[in-house]
């Protein structure tokens, strides 16, 4: 798992117009620069917002990536719920559930 770098890439994408341009023009080279697993790269490419949530990406970072990829607010919330249904509970971080819904 390289959750830290997945989040770092998204943090930079959210705040830095130069990184945003690279996202538009050459996303693959941006991905290649970060120490990511294949699962993480795939989830970022698709994008699989639900899987990114289940991996433990912080929502304060993820919600902006979802918006950038065209997810309207309710669609973003639903993508996370679908992620939990498909991949199981959040694996690590703040959103791991004490209860299992």
């Amino acid at each position: 798992m390289s959750l830290y770098y997945t989040q770092k890439l998204l943090y930079q994408l959210n705040r830095d117009p130069a990184v945003r341009r690279r996202f538009d023009e050459d996303f693959e080279s941006l991905l290649a620069e970060h120490e990511l697993t294949e699962e993480e790269r795939d989830a970022l490419r698709k994008p699989d917002i639900g899987l990114l949530y289940v991996m433990g990406v912080n929502g304060q970072i993820l919600m902006h990536y979802a918006a950038l990829r065209g997810y309207e607010w309710n669609a973003y919330l639903e993508a996370m719920r679908e992620g939990e249904r498909r991949y199981g509970p959040v694996r690590t971080g703040l959103y791991t559930r004490a209860d299992s819904r």
Binding site: Y4, Q7, K8, Y11, N14, R15, Y53, N58, G59, Q60, I61, L62, M63, H64, A67, L68, W73, L77, M80, R81, E84, G93, L94, Y95, A98
Partner: protein, 273 residues
């Protein structure tokens, strides 16, 4: 001249970004309370507004996360988020660098601080400013307390920061207003967005507004997480205001849970003495 105003308010991005999805009566009640707070701040004739906020990975990340950072810029900008997403246009916001520097230096007698001469405001500061200084003409001094994820500063240290900030303000000739802005209970940006624990919120506000210091500082992070969500960690911003207004009581101007805004929308003002 010292501290001339202190209060707390909510800052959730839905407040401006998803305004049309809220119950209009509840929304307008909250907006009116924010308008009342704006008038109260204006009536206090401040030279600067200190905003104690909890930012959300806009400027600070886990590669170098300060427990508390104070802005020392000549000016700032925001929002960092998409303008349409947040419903707030881009602005340049004046700072007050000399005053920032004096306050930081003074507080450093008590609390180690980071400082930042660059700062792109996110919704945590822009939503309050949208209502409280809508012309963006009042110099702002931003403060970030890391509330996003552990390790988090202990509540007693957030309180001590507030006390120290008060002492620093009281030593200055400028008239200074301060607000703390955060959620009480909320689960922002998660599938549970919209969940609000109203009894827990009201119990917290009761302690805040009656200055029950020991009760405020007795909250434990694991209980906050369970009862108030990860957004509940932002009580640090309100507790800093309790420290800045030690011994003072306050008045609740609005508390209305608005699920579309993902938070119990709060406006409260402290009676300074």
């Amino acid at each position: 001249m010292a501290l001339v105003f202190a209060g707390v308010c909510s800052h959730a991005p839905g407040i401006t970004g998803r305004a049309d999805r809220a119950d209009p009566t509840a929304r307008d009640r909250f907006y009116a309370a924010m308008g009342r707070m704006r008038k109260a701040i204006e009536a206090s004739r401040p030279d600067a507004l200190v905003v104690i906020a909890a930012e959300h990975f806009a400027n600070f990340f886990m590669n170098n996360m300060p427990a508390i950072c104070v802005g020392m810029g000549e000016h700032y900008e925001g929002p960092i988020e998409d303008e349409k997403w947040l419903g707030i246009g881009h602005h340049r916001i004046p700072g007050n660098k000399p005053l920032s520097r004096e306050l930081i230096q003074e507080v450093m007698n008590d609390i180690d601080l980071a400082y930042a001469e660059e700062w792109k405001f996110d919704h945590g500061i822009m939503v309050p400013l949208h209502f409280l200084t809508p012309r963006y003409d009042l110099p702002v001094i931003p403060v970030n307390i890391n509330c996003q994820g552990p390790p988090l500063i202990p509540l007693k240290r957030a309180y001590e920061f507030g006390r120290s900030l008060r002492r620093a303000c009281d030593a200055r000739p400028e008239r200074i207003a301060v607000i703390g802005t955060g959620g009480i209970s909320h689960w922002p940006a998660t599938p549970d967005s919209g969940r609000i624990n109203e009894p827990w919120d009201r119990a917290f506000l009761e302690k805040l507004l009656h200055h029950q210091r020991d009760a405020l500082l007795a909250y434990r992070d694991q209980d906050v997480w369970r009862e108030g969500g990860q957004g509940g960690f932002e009580i640090r911003t309100f507790i800093a205001i309790a420290g800045a207004t030690e011994g003072c009581t306050g008045e609740l101007w609005c508390y209305v849970p608005i699920p579309a805004f993902a938070v119990g929308c709060t406006v409260a003002v402290m009676r300074l003495h």
